[in-house]
């Protein structure tokens, strides 16, 4: 604060240029992604996900042989074709590991900012509450895309490093080349990203309820577990098609020739419904809430 410094900040317009066309959320979106993916915690989550296929590959490599039909699906095929490490890892990470990491990111969205106190400064900037909510959700979705991709990429890499890679036999019996198998992996990653979109919306809503991010994270993970447990109870069969986790394991259809899109479509529709409902709840809560942290 020395007095020699000129009073006017150079480069600053004399008045904020309100004549400028209203800008999109792009500037904030870029900043949000930088903060999310510049954070050590995010990298730790992605590294933990990458560790799953590596662990599987190493374990299979070290054991003499896996009896056919035991362990997770595809596990017995890994020794013949390393690409199955990726498929196995994606299957294994669906029930817990992916929802866990997504819960951390989605639960942190608003509550994390409130906890640090930066929420009040973002709002005074002014970021706009709706814009901030949209940007936060978009960033959480980006993580939903990055997470399964990480599992797939680490799985393909670990599989290729430890096992032979060759043509892949699909569930329908057709054989495809490794290149096309890579495309199928991307397709499954996309399926999982869509699957996690509803859970992210729930996490976003829970995150607007509290200033304790850990609470919102844990609640989101618990919700995902409860949904999966409910999906297992025959007594609740009427409820099953409405559970956001109902189609989570339905990506086997991505491994048929031709690809069956039914599950993908139904899953996308269901997730859209969850996004609409919990997005609306988050909107209603966040736009009226007093920011006192």
């Amino acid at each position: 604060m020395p007095s020699s410094v000129p009073a006017e900040v150079p480069g600053a317009p004399a008045v904020p240029d309100l004549a400028l066309p209203r800008r999109s959320g792009l500037s904030l979106m870029v900043s949000e992604l930088r903060v999310l993916f510049g954070r050590r915690r995010t990298w730790a989550l992605l590294l933990a996900l990458a560790a799953i296929p590596i662990l599987i590959a190493v374990a299979v490599r070290l054991s003499s042989s896996v009896p056919a039909g035991r362990g997770p699906a595809f596990l017995d095929r890994i020794t013949q074709n390393g690409l199955f490490v990726a498929f196995t890892a994606m299957l294994v990470s669906v029930p817990l590991f992916l929802p866990l990491t997504v819960g951390v990111v989605a639960g942190d969205t608003i509550a994390g900012e409130a906890n640090m106190g930066t929420l009040r400064y973002l709002l005074v900037a002014p970021a706009g509450r709706v814009r901030l909510l949209l940007v936060k959700y978009a960033a959480a979705l980006t993580f939903c895309i990055a997470a399964p991709l990480t599992v797939a990429a680490a799985g393909a890499a670990a599989g290729a490093a430890l096992f032979p890679v060759g043509p892949v036999t699909l569930l329908s019996g057709d054989v495809i080349q490794p290149g096309e198998a890579g495309l199928r992996m991307l397709l499954i990653a996309a399926y999982l990203a869509v699957s996690l979109a509803g859970l992210s919306a729930i996490g976003l809503f829970l995150s607007t309820l509290t200033v304790v991010p850990v609470g919102a994270m844990a609640a989101t993970v618990v919700v995902s577990v409860v949904s999966q447990v409910a999906d297992q109870l025959p007594q609740l069969e009427w409820l099953h098609p409405w559970l956001f986790s109902h189609y989570w394991l339905g990506f086997g259809d991505m491994l048929r020739q031709p690809v069956l899109w039914d599950a993908f479509g139904r899953n996308a529709l269901l997730q859209t419904g969850y996004i609409a409902v919990f997005g609306a709840l988050a909107y209603a809560r966040f736009t009226t809430r007093d920011v006192l942290s």
Partner: protein, 325 residues
């Protein structure tokens, strides 16, 4: 000065104007029917003990919390209705600085600047650097905020408020955590900003701080605005009293009573009795001596004591460490 009265600047021109601003948390009235009137170009001290509702008021001014009732007008526009037009022109430090500990000071400012919808990305780097330079943090710009001291965070918070040209700065306890040198720098900074036409609204629980940098002040107590006006007006509002040292205390008393004053005895001194009387403004203090002398009262000493702003502040807010209920 009465809480409700306003400086005669014309209401349309007020930089901050609240009417009946009230915030209720459950059964507790945190802010109770506050009518603030902050004239443009002023350095306005917002005084009050801890817990008197200052920060809650500031949160409502900035649209962070919704008022239970009452209205807020900032820069002539309704808040929070027109926050998109108002807030880009307002720099704020609210309840202490808050930053992403894992980002550098510079990256934090970039982030908060990018959050504003109307900020110009092309000038962002220059504006961030200038703001850091201005609060003396240029050397620590690349350091993570995690490693900042409280004083450095406070400076960074002020830098954030200065990222763009502002018509109004709202600084909540800006010298918290600063050493004497930093406190002095903040004072200089506030003055230089005010010279350039920025209205500065500073909350504080420290009267000396307000006396040193403000032109106007308002005093909060337990959620209510108990005084407001220019510092001169606030000083004038305090009582003045005459202290008379005389060997003829009895005669003096009669004269004073005759003039409509209420003299009281104070501790007598060797030279004679001492009388003390509150002056209500009906008689100029200098005429008092003339009246006494005309009545044959010998006067050895005569002083007019004006209540200091501190006495006034204590009278308004109560003394001691009691946090307002």
């Amino acid at each position: 000065m009465n809480p409700g009265s306003r400086p005669d600047t014309g209401n349309a021109a007020l930089t901050i104007e609240t009417r009946g601003l009230t915030k209720r948390f459950g059964h507790q009235l945190a802010v109770d029917a506050v009518d603030l009137a902050v004239p443009p170009g002023s350095v306005f001290g917002f005084l009050g003990p801890n817990g008197s509702g200052k920060t809650t008021t500031i949160r409502m001014l900035l649209g962070l919390a919704a008022a239970t009732s009452g209205t807020v007008n900032l820069l002539g526009m309704d808040m929070p209705g027109r926050f998109q037009e108002v807030l880009p022109r307002v720099g704020a430090l609210v309840e202490g600085p808050a930053f992403y500990p894992f980002l550098s000071g510079s990256a934090n400012l970039h982030r908060l600047d990018a959050a504003g919808r109307h900020t110009v990305p092309a000038t962002r780097r220059a504006r961030v650097d200038a703001a850091l330079e201005r609060v003396g943090l240029a050397h620590a710009a690349r350091k993570r905020v995690h490693a900042y001291s409280l004083g450095m965070k406070q400076r960074l918070g002020i830098a954030n408020a200065l990222l763009s040209h502002r018509d109004l700065l709202v600084l909540d306890e800006p010298t918290n955590g600063l050493d004497p040198q930093g406190t002095r720098e903040v004072r200089h900074l506030v003055r230089s900003l005010a010279r350039n036409g920025t209205t500065v609204f500073v909350s504080s629980h420290l009267l000396p701080e307000v006396e040193q940098m403000c032109t106007h002040a308002a005093v909060m107590r337990a959620g209510r605005l108990v005084a407001q006006g220019s510092l001169a007006e606030l000083r004038r509002a305090g009582s003045t009293r005459a202290r008379i040292l005389t060997p003829d205390a009895g005669d003096a008393r009669k004269v004073l009573l005759h003039l409509g004053l209420e003299p009281a005895d104070a501790a007598a001194q060797a030279e004679g009795g001492v009388l003390v009387a509150d002056l209500d403004g009906s008689i100029p203090a200098e005429d008092l001596v003339a009246h006494l002398v005309a009545a044959g009262v010998r006067v050895r000493g005569f002083t007019v004591e004006r209540e200091s702003l501190e006495d006034r502040f204590v009278a308004l807010t109560g003394e001691g460490f009691d946090v307002a209920q």
